[in-house]
Symmetry: C2
Subunit: 276 residues, 2 copies
DNA sequence: TTCATTTGGTAGCAATTTACTACTTTTATC
DNA sequence: GATAAAAGTAGTAAATTGCTACCAAATGAA
């Protein structure tokens, strides 16, 4: 294989030694992370943001992240940045989307691979204190995307609209940000990633076991249901929820206080798929 | 806002003029496209591949694609490359995944944003003749990923296995390529993208209207069902399929020959969602 | 033209899932 | 120990899915 020659008569080794990657103007690539969690009372979905200390978007909050080094994958970069920012390892992390609009960073061409991470509400204190990372309450309904940090007195809000766009033969429906309502805003185009992350989270909650990354080792059914309702933004029927989810769960013989109801309830742990 | 000074006392304009993007070693970024279609007899799912004329992977087939220029988004790059390769415009194209393993290209660091495109079986001749682009039959079952071009006498086949990996608290199940079976192979890590594309296609077929990008303006129910069955890899029940899909369709008063059954059948066109 | 065969299209029913109400048991509080 | 609220269970109507059967329309061969 190494002996095969190309149109200019070069073998692979010859070709590679002559190859000049500098010919093309290259963008910078960063990995940013949407780290979701919940507050300990299970009242809000939370997102970790970091205050920017530098231009552009100085003093705006942004997703944690950083440059993908030349010898690591974007996934490894995301894990590394998360470790540096929060000290967390071994967390659920999946690739979300890649943002590549040439205008998205005024400094230079930056392409960002966004990841979505989930951590249990019991660990959501990590990285908060001593650093500039802060947890914001996130909510998305039909009309608004809202991020709030009560402690800092900051609310960031975008109005939403349903957009219809044609792609190929089909017209697609999509919820997009319309305009910034609040005085504060997110840095860069990070509101796009937050929207995409919330949509992905909602979507995958319904057909995967994603949710168990948000709870502790032991949890109660009412609390688990609360989390589903919080993220999906709708009430679920207790009976149906319990029937369906219980096949993924292992009941323990202990009872623990449920967070949302404040009464004793059977403690469960995640069992995983029964049939594989 | 422009007057705010950072830690070094610089305003935004001062900061940006001093900013040196060259500090970081940057990867090249390409956009590659998985263009799916069907053969005119609706017997196979098809994927467009291009024979590489150069090292590395010379003579191997690869996904069409190319460098993302410095003033275009990855999506625009994908559209441009597709136009250059096949002459096609206005086709369905969605971002699939970003591949960033540092070892994936022996020449240099290349990060690839993969897109998935769909075109109707009536247009799948485009780009085939006169160019080095060729349509391959694709199939994926429990055990193998197979790409064939009978005309060229080429078969590329990978064995598959179910992998279990822990991420966060949960163990996930995933179908991955195990090893190359055939003599020929795909270039780079393009088999990963093909697998991911097929999974995405299957998945979205069940809850979106993706499939209508694969059919002509007018089509019959048996043919549409055939396409679903082909991609999903399972039989569907005629009655249920018709009941469910017909609310997205507009029946015409003409009948056309169905491709799979070769008898006259009502011609339908896509209507889109009834309630919006 | 007729007739057997194949395909398009529809009916219907059992099993499962979803939407929803109601009730019993357990737990915390006064 | 009474009361209120939450945990947990029962059950039922409506919708969806899995599956079989049938009739009508179209094709092709006699």
């Amino acid at each position: 294989m190494r002996r095969i020659r190309n149109a200019k008569g070069l073998t692979e080794t010859e070709f590679l030694s002559q190859y000049d990657p500098g010919r093309y103007e290259r963008p910078s690539v960063t990995a940013d992370i949407l780290l979701f969690s919940l507050d300990p009372q299970l009242n809000h979905l939370k997102l970790l943001l970091i205050k920017r200390e530098n231009h552009p978007f100085i003093d705006c909050f942004a997703l944690p992240g950083g440059f993908v080094e030349i010898n690591e994958s974007a996934y490894e970069a995301a894990k590394r940045e998360l470790l540096e920012e929060t000290g967390l390892t071994d967390i659920y992390l999946e690739q979300l989307y890649t943002y590549s609009n040439p205008e998205r960073d005024p400094r230079m061409r930056v392409i960002t691979v966004a990841y979505m991470g989930l951590i249990p509400y019991t660990e959501a204190q990590a990285g908060d204190d001593a650093s500039d990372a802060k947890w914001f309450d996130v909510s998305m309904d039909q009309r608004f995307l809202t991020l709030t940090n009560e402690e800092l007195g900051i609310t960031i809000q975008y109005s939403l609209k349903t957009e219809y766009f044609r792609c190929g033969r089909i017209t697609y429906e999509n919820i997009v940000a319309e305009e910034l309502i609040s005085e504060d805003s997110l840095a860069f185009d990070h509101h796009l990633a937050v929207l995409d992350g919330l949509k992905r989270l909602r979507n995958k909650l319904e057909y995967t076991d994603l949710a168990f990354n948000l709870v502790d080792e032991l949890f109660t059914l009412p609390d688990l249901q609360r989390i589903y309702e919080l993220i999906l933004g709708k009430k679920l029927y207790k009976k149906n929820f319990n029937d369906k989810i219980s096949e993924k769960l292992q009941a323990t013989d202990t009872k623990i206080k449920s967070i949302c109801g404040e009464k004793l309830a059977t403690a469960y742990q995640y069992k995983g798929r029964t049939k594989q």
